[in-house]
């Protein structure tokens, strides 16, 4: 789960990492009021995506243009996300901008501290343009970050970041982060360090022990999650319902290979029953772009006959005309075929066959 910048900065302050003084506003008037109090200020759109600066979602303001700027940014949408909150902060004008972040090196199975003199830019960009500027230090997840490691990083960086690095690591570990990033970490006039931006991603698997509030929303993603399924909306017109993430991605790729475009990713997970499939169908078909649906189930713990009952009941209840191609194999397969015989769904006998048929149906005028 990604945290908003203002939430991440609250967390920074809790862990003793300095941030600019600032407040959150959700109306232009309150934003202007805060800016007036701060003097030289920056207004920053609070959305969970990168590229805010390039999109014009971050702007320095004066007393005279604060209201107008806040109004403009609150009306924006950045990469499809509506700006509903602003962070209004004092403008720190740092002398130097560094990068300091901790993430997980999946291959080495350890956290890695990354530092760079080239703060303020995308770290992947910096790594490509000037690979020598990136300092990487792997951290033993049992022993923690050592003094000597931080000394070495500070020496190579030319700035003592020891205190901030230790605080950031403590936050990273205690709050189950997969990313804790300060970019830029500003060196301000008096030589002190200040986290000018904050990016934190918390491990979804650790939310049971991390008291972060999940974003409440009625999005198909959120509804699917509530049902123990995983859904990701895409741009195409072929709905997909599959058990297992790997098989789901394989099905989407096959659809693409036959010239179609998947409308979504959906993994209904092992052991799904009749009601789960009906829920999955209603989530997938709630997308108005969907012209045909592929259900691809490899039965094991998931019983094909249960899935068939779900499809049959959904079609009876909803009276949908949408063509549905079903490929069921494994436990309860024969019974499933019998159940679906009179329902008008189209049977497929392999993943490839299912993908081919559903693409043809979606292309029909």
């Amino acid at each position: 789960m990604k945290l908003y910048e203002f939430v991440a900065k609250q967390l920074f302050r809790k862990y003793g990492i300095a941030t600019p003084e600032g407040e959150v506003a959700d109306t232009p008037e309150s934003a202007a009021q805060i800016a007036g109090r701060l003097g030289r200020a920056v207004i920053k759109a609070q959305v969970l995506t990168g590229g805010r600066g390039k999109a014009g979602g971050i702007a320095p303001v004066t007393q005279s243009n604060a209201l107008e700027t806040a109004k403009r940014i609150l009306g924006m949408s950045i990469r499809g996300l509506q700006v509903r909150k602003l962070l209004v902060e004092e403008d720190k004008s740092p002398e130097k901008e560094l990068y300091l972040g901790i993430t997980i090196d999946r291959g080495k199975r350890r956290p890695v501290l990354i530092a760079s003199r080239l703060g303020g830019v995308d770290i992947e960009e910096a790594a490509r343009k000037a690979p020598g500027s990136i300092i990487r230090t792997h951290i033993d997840p049992l022993a923690g970050l050592f003094d000597y490691q931080v000394r070495t990083v500070s020496r190579r960086l030319g700035t003592d970041v020891g205190d901030v690095a230790f605080r950031l690591y403590r936050l990273f570990i205690e709050r189950d982060c997969t990313l804790a990033e300060i970019n830029p970490l500003g060196v301000v006039a008096d030589g002190s360090l200040c986290a000018l931006d904050a990016k934190i991603t918390v491990d979804d698997s650790a939310l049971f022990r991390q008291p972060f509030m999940e974003e409440e929303s009625g999005s198909p993603e959120a509804i699917a999650k509530k049902h123990g399924m995983s859904y990701v909306a895409l741009d195409g017109n072929i709905g997909c319902i599959v058990n297992g993430a790997g098989l789901a991605m394989a099905s989407m790729d096959l659809i693409k290979g036959f010239g179609g475009e998947p409308a979504n990713f959906m993994d209904v997970r092992g052991g799904a029953g009749a009601e789960d499939v009906a829920d999955a169908l209603s989530i997938v078909t709630s997308n108005p772009n969907v012209r045909a649906v592929l259900v691809n189930i490899f039965g094991g713990i998931t019983r094909c006959d249960e899935i068939a009952v779900g499809i049959r009941d959904f079609r009876r209840r909803m009276d949908i005309r949408l063509p549905v191609v079903v490929r069921l194999t494994g436990t309860g397969e024969a019974e499933a075929r019998r159940l679906l015989l009179s329902t008008g769904v189209i049977a497929a006998d392999s993943s490839e066959d299912g993908a081919r048929q559903v693409v043809a149906l979606a292309h029909q005028p």
Binding site: I104, R109, D204, F208, S230, A250, K256, F265, I301
Partner: protein
Amino acid sequence: MAQGRWWLLLISRDTRVIVQGMTGKAGSFQARQMLEFGTNIVAGVSPGRGGEEVHGVPVFDSVEEGVAETGADASVIFVPARSAADALFEADDAGIGLVVCITEGVPVKDTMRVCRYFEGRARLIGPNCPGITVPGECKIGIMPNGIHLPGRVGVVSRSGTLTYELVELLTRNGIGQSTSIGIGGDPVPGMSFLDALSLFEKDEKTDAVLLVGEIGGTSEEDAAGFIHKMSKPVIAYVVGITAPPEKTMGHAGAIISGRSGTAQDKIYALEKGGAMIASGPGDVVEKVKRTLAKN
């Protein structure tokens, strides 16, 4: 590990298996499936339930007791995510040599700590994985019974149902498997593709390897460099070409972060490393068939 046979791939019919979390719903159901497969399950472990029996197998309060009483050398874990790491540490401390963690949703911090603790000690497969199966010998995990056929193709995959689908397709086409390993869909896995390829290279029962990858991380790329050094052919199939960036595709580890972890990168690296790339399940069967015919 059981003597004499475990050089094949980690397990055999002599492997003595403990089921941690056997009194739970999934643990008890899957223990029965494993018993029906022919796996030698010698003990279950559930704290506070020592002295009970599940499917005729004795349950102990701790792994240590289970090992002392039965000589178990492998363990499979079905305990809930919040206590999975504890169960893993317990297995390693009790001297278990191979631990398969089925549990999904283990925090990645816990897995990193477990991997560090296991270094030079127990071998870990998973978490969030379907386990390992040697057809006709032993199954530790949750792969369905009845889809495997003894043979000479090693299978290693990050997926569950996609693995079952491919294994079943191979079987239906008369192509048997030496060992199938699901390394799991988490960001930080115990066994990596590279580990599995090294094992298959050494395994006398394996003639060719099928590697099934997906978006996220660099496990496929890390293994690609090893393929050149192998004497055995590798067929690779990577899914997630249609996956958008920054979205988790079901598996916690299946996410394209920034510019890294795309299916295209993985396919490129694997092909450069000398693997044959399959475009879909049907093509996997064709390529494996052709490879075996050449050998």
